[in-house]
């Protein structure tokens, strides 16, 4: 029934209407993919920030421990 109604609607529409509707659908899909991509990019950037900070902290701990050991030897 739904398919029949849609077919009748398409039959009544002008070619310009169909082109416009297709463009609207395409734009909708584009923006949906931008939305998902943006959300993933934000979370990925945060994870990368965490990884970078983790490395920096580990390096600092190693350097400080080495420095303390050296001072103790002297």
């Amino acid at each position: 029934m739904h398919l029949l109604a849609q077919t009748l609607l398409v039959a009544q529409a002008s070619p310009e209407d169909i082109v416009q509707e297709l463009a609207r659908l395409q734009r909708n899909f584009h923006f949906l993919s931008y939305g998902f991509a943006a959300a993933w990019i934000i979370l990925t950037l945060y994870v990368l920030m965490l990884v970078g900070r983790e490395r920096k902290l580990k390096r600092q701990i190693t350097n400080l421990k080495a420095m303390l050991e050296e001072r103790q030897k002297k």
């Binding site: 734009r27 909708n28 949906l32 965490l50 900070r53 983790e54 902290l57 600092q60 701990i61 400080l64």
Partner: protein, 225 residues
């Protein structure tokens, strides 16, 4: 052991979210809005995750002021930072949805403005922490600021019930709207994935706070020598 648990939880979160992307792609389009409506499956769970983070930050801040135990301060900063990332994802996805449905990227509507103020408040909390050197003073001021910042959270949540806003009316836990049961399952499953991700991120951030404290004590030892 703790690292292994984090890896497993992280992998599980990514698997759940990747599976949900596939499920969301297969769902039919919403009648009035079309495909862009599906952004709700990320927009709303991101907001709920940010709210859970804000409630946890409030609890941890109150606990710090009661006990003066720095582990609560570390938990508060970790969960606030993670919540901020999720609130940013919520604001950006909402803005992209608005561009298609309203024709504008942003409007100074009560819901949108209060959510932006919330983001700015918690960003201010993180900036405040950088500005204070002395650890006890920093943790105390930050805890008080976090409690005050939380006052905005109920305003964000209830704004669409209290005021006439351009933002759509609530469709969950409300008699106004309806959301199909199978769509609700996908939405809840996506929330589960994001919550798992938030837990892993918070645990990593918490470990970094522990490392920072270790660095501070090593520096003190180096100065004492």
């Amino acid at each position: 052991m703790r690292d292994k648990i984090l890896y497993v939880l992280g992998a599980l979160a990514v698997l759940v979210l990747a599976r949900n992307l596939y499920v969301i792609a297969g769902l039919p389009q919403e009648a009035a809005q079309g495909a862009i409506f599906k952004i709700i499956f990320f927009h709303v769970p991101a907001a709920w995750t940010a709210i859970v983070a804000a409630i946890t930050a409030l609890t941890m801040s109150v606990q710090f002021l009661r006990t003066k135990d720095f582990k609560y301060d570390a938990a508060a900063v970790a969960v606030t930072e993670v919540g901020l990332a999720f609130l940013a994802a919520n604001l950006v996805t909402g803005s992209i949805w608005a561009r298609v449905i309203w024709g504008i990227w942003w409007t100074w509507d009560v819901r949108l403005t209060s959510a932006l103020v919330c983001w700015l408040l918690y960003a201010g909390y993180l900036m405040l922490r950088h500005a204070i050197e002395e650890p006890t003073q920093r943790a105390t001021f930050a805890a008080v600021f976090s409690i005050l910042a939380f006052l905005d959270v109920p305003i964000v949540y209830f704004s669409i019930r209290w005021f006439r806003t351009q933002h759509p009316a609530p469709v969950f836990l409300s008699s106004n709207g309806s959301f199909p049961a199978d769509w609700t399952r996908v939405l809840l499953s996506n929330w589960l994935g994001l919550l798992l991700l938030a837990i892993v991120m918070t645990a990593i951030r918490l470990r970094q706070e522990e490392s920072q404290r270790e660095i501070d004590s090593l520096r003190r030892a180096a100065h004492a020598m």
